[in-house]
Amino acid sequence: MPDPTAADEVLRAPHVLEYTYTRSVGPVIGAFLTGLRQGRILGATGDEGRVVVPPAEYDPVTARPSGELVEVGPGGAVSTWAWENEPTADHPLSRPFAWALVVLDGATTGLLHVVDAGSPDAMASGMRVRPRFRPEGERRGHLLDIECFVPEESS
Protein backbone atom coordinates (compact mmCIF):
# COMPACT_ATOMS: atom_id res chain seq x y z
CA MET A 1 0.00 0.00 0.00
CA PRO A 2 1.41 3.41 -0.92
CA ASP A 3 2.07 5.82 1.90
CA PRO A 4 -1.36 7.36 2.48
CA THR A 5 0.21 10.36 4.16
CA ALA A 6 2.05 11.38 1.01
CA ALA A 7 0.59 14.64 -0.21
CA ASP A 8 0.59 13.45 -3.82
CA GLU A 9 -1.78 10.65 -2.85
CA VAL A 10 -4.48 13.19 -2.17
CA LEU A 11 -7.20 13.91 -4.73
CA ARG A 12 -8.32 17.44 -5.44
CA ALA A 13 -11.02 18.77 -7.71
CA PRO A 14 -12.51 22.09 -8.72
CA HIS A 15 -15.70 22.96 -6.88
CA VAL A 16 -18.06 25.83 -7.64
CA LEU A 17 -20.51 27.41 -5.26
CA GLU A 18 -23.19 29.46 -6.97
CA TYR A 19 -26.30 31.07 -5.53
CA THR A 20 -28.74 33.46 -7.16
CA TYR A 21 -30.01 35.19 -4.07
CA THR A 22 -32.98 37.50 -4.55
CA ARG A 23 -33.47 39.95 -1.72
CA SER A 24 -36.43 42.05 -0.69
CA VAL A 25 -35.11 45.55 -0.20
CA GLY A 26 -37.83 47.06 1.97
CA PRO A 27 -39.07 50.65 1.93
CA VAL A 28 -35.85 52.52 2.80
CA ILE A 29 -33.29 50.69 0.67
CA GLY A 30 -35.98 50.38 -1.99
CA ALA A 31 -36.44 54.16 -2.07
CA PHE A 32 -32.67 54.65 -2.34
CA LEU A 33 -32.41 52.21 -5.25
CA THR A 34 -35.47 53.72 -6.92
CA GLY A 35 -33.78 57.10 -6.57
CA LEU A 36 -30.62 55.81 -8.21
CA ARG A 37 -32.69 54.61 -11.14
CA GLN A 38 -33.95 58.18 -11.44
CA GLY A 39 -30.43 59.56 -11.16
CA ARG A 40 -30.89 60.87 -7.60
CA ILE A 41 -29.11 59.95 -4.38
CA LEU A 42 -31.17 59.82 -1.18
CA GLY A 43 -30.10 59.85 2.45
CA ALA A 44 -31.98 59.21 5.69
CA THR A 45 -32.29 61.85 8.36
CA GLY A 46 -31.20 60.52 11.71
CA ASP A 47 -30.54 61.76 15.21
CA GLU A 48 -28.09 64.52 16.16
CA GLY A 49 -28.33 66.04 12.70
CA ARG A 50 -27.09 62.97 10.89
CA VAL A 51 -27.95 62.38 7.25
CA VAL A 52 -27.05 58.78 6.56
CA VAL A 53 -26.04 57.86 3.02
CA PRO A 54 -26.74 55.24 1.88
CA PRO A 55 -29.85 55.32 4.04
CA ALA A 56 -30.65 52.75 6.70
CA GLU A 57 -33.93 52.03 8.45
CA TYR A 58 -32.41 53.17 11.72
CA ASP A 59 -29.87 55.64 13.04
CA PRO A 60 -26.43 53.98 13.18
CA VAL A 61 -25.69 55.38 16.65
CA THR A 62 -29.02 55.58 18.50
CA ALA A 63 -30.78 52.81 16.54
CA ARG A 64 -33.95 54.91 16.46
CA PRO A 65 -36.04 54.71 13.26
CA SER A 66 -34.81 57.03 10.54
CA GLY A 67 -36.77 60.12 9.59
CA GLU A 68 -37.63 61.25 6.10
CA LEU A 69 -35.45 60.66 3.09
CA VAL A 70 -33.75 63.70 1.57
CA GLU A 71 -31.84 64.17 -1.64
CA VAL A 72 -28.10 64.70 -1.22
CA GLY A 73 -25.16 65.43 -3.53
CA PRO A 74 -24.71 64.77 -6.31
CA GLY A 75 -21.20 66.07 -5.58
CA GLY A 76 -19.22 65.25 -2.49
CA ALA A 77 -15.83 64.97 -0.86
CA VAL A 78 -13.58 61.93 -0.50
CA SER A 79 -13.01 61.22 3.20
CA THR A 80 -10.57 58.37 2.67
CA TRP A 81 -9.38 56.31 -0.27
CA ALA A 82 -7.20 53.40 -1.30
CA TRP A 83 -5.69 52.62 -4.66
CA GLU A 84 -6.67 49.38 -6.41
CA ASN A 85 -3.93 48.27 -8.81
CA GLU A 86 -5.45 44.97 -9.80
CA PRO A 87 -9.19 45.17 -10.46
CA THR A 88 -10.99 41.86 -10.83
CA ALA A 89 -13.88 41.03 -13.15
CA ASP A 90 -16.26 41.62 -10.22
CA HIS A 91 -15.17 45.21 -9.67
CA PRO A 92 -17.06 48.21 -11.08
CA LEU A 93 -14.14 49.30 -13.27
CA SER A 94 -11.71 47.19 -15.27
CA ARG A 95 -8.83 49.70 -15.06
CA PRO A 96 -7.02 50.67 -11.82
CA PHE A 97 -9.19 52.90 -9.65
CA ALA A 98 -9.58 54.25 -6.14
CA TRP A 99 -11.85 52.78 -3.50
CA ALA A 100 -13.29 55.72 -1.61
CA LEU A 101 -15.69 56.76 1.09
CA VAL A 102 -17.51 59.74 -0.37
CA VAL A 103 -19.36 62.16 1.90
CA LEU A 104 -21.95 63.65 -0.42
CA ASP A 105 -23.03 67.27 -0.03
CA GLY A 106 -25.70 67.30 2.67
CA ALA A 107 -24.69 63.92 4.07
CA THR A 108 -22.81 63.21 7.29
CA THR A 109 -21.66 59.66 6.51
CA GLY A 110 -19.56 58.15 3.73
CA LEU A 111 -20.78 56.11 0.78
CA LEU A 112 -18.37 53.40 -0.37
CA HIS A 113 -17.80 53.51 -4.09
CA VAL A 114 -15.00 53.77 -6.63
CA VAL A 115 -13.35 56.80 -8.23
CA ASP A 116 -12.16 56.68 -11.82
CA ALA A 117 -9.15 58.91 -11.31
CA GLY A 118 -6.62 57.36 -13.68
CA SER A 119 -3.76 57.50 -11.22
CA PRO A 120 -3.24 57.62 -7.47
CA ASP A 121 -1.54 60.96 -8.07
CA ALA A 122 -4.96 62.38 -8.93
CA MET A 123 -6.40 61.28 -5.59
CA ALA A 124 -6.36 63.09 -2.27
CA SER A 125 -8.43 63.00 0.86
CA GLY A 126 -10.88 65.90 0.78
CA MET A 127 -10.97 66.09 -3.01
CA ARG A 128 -14.27 66.82 -4.70
CA VAL A 129 -15.95 64.14 -6.78
CA ARG A 130 -19.26 63.69 -8.56
CA PRO A 131 -21.13 60.54 -9.62
CA ARG A 132 -21.14 59.24 -13.15
CA PHE A 133 -24.54 57.61 -13.59
CA ARG A 134 -25.18 54.96 -16.19
CA PRO A 135 -27.40 56.03 -19.09
CA GLU A 136 -31.03 56.13 -18.02
CA GLY A 137 -32.01 53.09 -20.07
CA GLU A 138 -29.36 50.96 -18.38
CA ARG A 139 -30.24 51.80 -14.78
CA ARG A 140 -31.97 49.01 -12.87
CA GLY A 141 -32.31 50.24 -9.30
CA HIS A 142 -28.92 49.06 -8.06
CA LEU A 143 -25.85 50.57 -6.41
CA LEU A 144 -24.03 50.21 -9.72
CA ASP A 145 -26.48 52.58 -11.42
CA ILE A 146 -23.69 54.86 -10.30
CA GLU A 147 -20.97 53.54 -12.58
CA CYS A 148 -18.32 55.31 -10.52
CA PHE A 149 -17.36 58.73 -9.19
CA VAL A 150 -15.05 61.06 -11.09
CA PRO A 151 -12.98 64.02 -9.92
CA GLU A 152 -14.83 67.32 -10.22
CA GLU A 153 -13.05 69.52 -12.72
CA SER A 154 -10.84 71.91 -10.85
CA SER A 155 -11.05 75.40 -12.23
Binding site: H15, V16, L17, T20, E136
Partner: protein, 169 residues
Protein backbone atom coordinates in the same frame (compact mmCIF):
# COMPACT_ATOMS: atom_id res chain seq x y z
CA UNK B 1 -40.52 42.44 -9.33
CA UNK B 2 -43.08 43.96 -11.61
CA UNK B 3 -40.68 46.51 -12.96
CA UNK B 4 -38.28 44.59 -15.13
CA UNK B 5 -37.12 47.61 -17.07
CA UNK B 6 -35.51 50.78 -15.85
CA UNK B 7 -38.20 52.87 -17.47
CA UNK B 8 -41.01 51.60 -15.26
CA UNK B 9 -42.46 53.65 -12.42
CA UNK B 10 -42.82 50.92 -9.79
CA UNK B 11 -40.55 51.36 -6.78
CA UNK B 12 -37.65 48.92 -6.58
CA UNK B 13 -38.69 46.03 -4.31
CA UNK B 14 -36.24 43.26 -5.18
CA UNK B 15 -32.52 43.06 -5.69
CA UNK B 16 -30.68 40.15 -7.20
CA UNK B 17 -27.31 39.31 -5.68
CA UNK B 18 -25.75 36.43 -7.56
CA UNK B 19 -22.76 34.73 -5.98
CA UNK B 20 -20.17 32.61 -7.73
CA UNK B 21 -17.13 31.34 -5.84
CA UNK B 22 -14.52 28.93 -7.19
CA UNK B 23 -12.88 26.41 -4.87
CA UNK B 24 -10.29 23.71 -5.12
CA UNK B 25 -11.75 20.92 -3.02
CA UNK B 26 -9.43 18.55 -1.17
CA UNK B 27 -10.70 15.07 -0.48
CA UNK B 28 -8.15 14.56 2.29
CA UNK B 29 -6.10 11.43 2.91
CA UNK B 30 -8.75 8.88 3.85
CA UNK B 31 -11.32 9.83 1.25
CA UNK B 32 -8.63 9.92 -1.42
CA UNK B 33 -7.75 6.30 -0.61
CA UNK B 34 -11.42 5.36 -0.89
CA UNK B 35 -11.86 7.15 -4.21
CA UNK B 36 -8.71 5.59 -5.64
CA UNK B 37 -10.04 2.20 -4.57
CA UNK B 38 -13.19 2.86 -6.60
CA UNK B 39 -11.06 3.40 -9.69
CA UNK B 40 -9.72 -0.13 -9.12
CA UNK B 41 -13.18 -1.58 -8.55
CA UNK B 42 -12.56 -2.00 -4.80
CA UNK B 43 -14.20 -0.69 -1.64
CA UNK B 44 -11.50 0.53 0.77
CA UNK B 45 -12.57 1.40 4.29
CA UNK B 46 -10.73 2.18 7.51
CA UNK B 47 -10.90 0.59 10.97
CA UNK B 48 -10.94 2.41 14.29
CA UNK B 49 -8.02 1.21 16.43
CA UNK B 50 -10.12 1.67 19.56
CA UNK B 51 -13.63 0.36 18.87
CA UNK B 52 -12.63 -1.68 15.77
CA UNK B 53 -15.54 -0.41 13.73
CA UNK B 54 -14.94 -0.24 9.98
CA UNK B 55 -16.01 2.90 8.14
CA UNK B 56 -16.67 3.07 4.42
CA UNK B 57 -16.44 5.62 2.98
CA UNK B 58 -13.82 6.62 5.55
CA UNK B 59 -13.27 10.21 6.68
CA UNK B 60 -10.02 9.54 8.49
CA UNK B 61 -11.50 9.52 11.98
CA UNK B 62 -13.78 7.45 14.14
CA UNK B 63 -16.91 9.56 14.75
CA UNK B 64 -17.44 7.70 18.02
CA UNK B 65 -13.95 7.85 19.48
CA UNK B 66 -12.53 10.88 17.69
CA UNK B 67 -9.25 9.12 16.88
CA UNK B 68 -7.55 8.61 13.52
CA UNK B 69 -8.56 5.49 11.62
CA UNK B 70 -5.27 4.27 10.24
CA UNK B 71 -5.81 0.61 9.31
CA UNK B 72 -7.06 0.17 5.79
CA UNK B 73 -9.61 -2.58 5.21
CA UNK B 74 -10.80 -3.90 1.86
CA UNK B 75 -14.46 -4.72 1.99
CA UNK B 76 -16.61 -7.25 0.25
CA UNK B 77 -18.44 -6.50 -2.96
CA UNK B 78 -21.58 -7.72 -1.25
CA UNK B 79 -23.82 -6.25 1.39
CA UNK B 80 -27.29 -5.87 2.85
CA UNK B 81 -30.03 -3.32 2.21
CA UNK B 82 -30.71 -1.80 5.60
CA UNK B 83 -33.46 0.53 4.42
CA UNK B 84 -34.60 2.05 1.15
CA UNK B 85 -37.03 4.36 -0.56
CA UNK B 86 -38.83 4.27 -3.89
CA UNK B 87 -38.22 7.40 -5.95
CA UNK B 88 -41.20 8.38 -8.10
CA UNK B 89 -40.37 12.02 -8.65
CA UNK B 90 -38.80 13.02 -11.95
CA UNK B 91 -36.20 15.80 -11.81
CA UNK B 92 -34.06 17.72 -14.24
CA UNK B 93 -31.04 15.80 -15.49
CA UNK B 94 -32.41 12.48 -14.32
CA UNK B 95 -30.64 9.57 -16.01
CA UNK B 96 -32.59 6.66 -14.50
CA UNK B 97 -36.16 5.70 -15.22
CA UNK B 98 -38.61 6.11 -12.35
CA UNK B 99 -39.59 4.42 -10.18
CA UNK B 100 -36.17 3.46 -8.89
CA UNK B 101 -34.78 2.37 -5.54
CA UNK B 102 -32.39 4.37 -3.44
CA UNK B 103 -31.07 2.20 -0.61
CA UNK B 104 -28.73 2.30 2.36
CA UNK B 105 -26.27 -0.53 1.84
CA UNK B 106 -24.15 -2.06 4.58
CA UNK B 107 -21.22 -3.86 2.99
CA UNK B 108 -20.21 -7.11 4.68
CA UNK B 109 -17.63 -6.27 7.31
CA UNK B 110 -18.54 -2.56 7.44
CA UNK B 111 -20.07 -0.63 10.34
CA UNK B 112 -21.39 2.24 8.26
CA UNK B 113 -24.02 2.06 5.52
CA UNK B 114 -23.88 4.26 2.42
CA UNK B 115 -26.35 5.16 -0.29
CA UNK B 116 -26.64 3.14 -3.48
CA UNK B 117 -28.96 2.52 -6.38
CA UNK B 118 -30.74 -0.85 -6.62
CA UNK B 119 -31.46 -2.21 -10.11
CA UNK B 120 -32.25 -5.51 -11.83
CA UNK B 121 -35.30 -6.01 -9.61
CA UNK B 122 -38.82 -4.59 -9.68
CA UNK B 123 -39.28 -1.71 -7.27
CA UNK B 124 -42.02 -3.49 -5.36
CA UNK B 125 -39.80 -6.52 -4.77
CA UNK B 126 -37.07 -4.71 -2.79
CA UNK B 127 -37.03 -5.25 0.96
CA UNK B 128 -35.00 -4.51 4.07
CA UNK B 129 -32.41 -7.19 4.63
CA UNK B 130 -32.14 -8.01 0.93
CA UNK B 131 -28.66 -9.21 -0.05
CA UNK B 132 -27.04 -7.24 -2.87
CA UNK B 133 -23.76 -6.96 -4.75
CA UNK B 134 -22.06 -4.08 -6.53
CA UNK B 135 -22.15 -3.97 -10.34
CA UNK B 136 -19.16 -1.97 -11.53
CA UNK B 137 -18.86 -0.04 -14.76
CA UNK B 138 -16.53 -1.61 -17.38
CA UNK B 139 -12.81 -1.38 -16.39
CA UNK B 140 -12.09 1.34 -18.93
CA UNK B 141 -14.78 3.53 -17.33
CA UNK B 142 -13.62 3.10 -13.71
CA UNK B 143 -12.57 6.31 -12.00
CA UNK B 144 -12.15 7.93 -8.55
CA UNK B 145 -15.89 8.49 -8.24
CA UNK B 146 -18.99 6.77 -6.88
CA UNK B 147 -20.14 6.59 -10.49
CA UNK B 148 -17.73 3.63 -10.80
CA UNK B 149 -20.44 1.62 -9.07
CA UNK B 150 -23.17 1.40 -11.70
CA UNK B 151 -25.66 0.02 -9.21
CA UNK B 152 -26.30 -2.82 -6.77
CA UNK B 153 -28.32 -5.91 -7.69
CA UNK B 154 -29.81 -8.80 -5.72
CA UNK B 155 -27.48 -11.76 -5.13
CA UNK B 156 -30.35 -14.18 -4.67
CA UNK B 157 -29.12 -15.21 -1.21
CA UNK B 158 -31.65 -15.50 1.62
CA UNK B 159 -32.40 -12.16 3.30
CA UNK B 160 -30.23 -11.13 6.22
CA UNK B 161 -31.67 -11.38 9.71
CA UNK B 162 -33.03 -8.05 11.02
CA UNK B 163 -30.86 -8.43 14.12
CA UNK B 164 -27.76 -8.32 11.91
CA UNK B 165 -28.41 -4.79 10.63
CA UNK B 166 -30.79 -3.16 13.11
CA UNK B 167 -27.89 -1.12 14.55
CA UNK B 168 -27.38 0.56 11.19
CA UNK B 169 -30.78 2.03 10.51
Amino acid sequence: MTDATSTGQEPVAIMESPIHVDYRFTAGLAQSRFLKGLSQGRFLGQRCPRCHKVYVPPRGSCPTDGVPTTDEVELSNQGTVTTYCVVNVPFQGQSIEIPYICAQILLDGANLAFMGLIQEIAADQVRMGMRVEAVWVPPEELGPTMASVRHFRPTGEPDADYESFKEYL
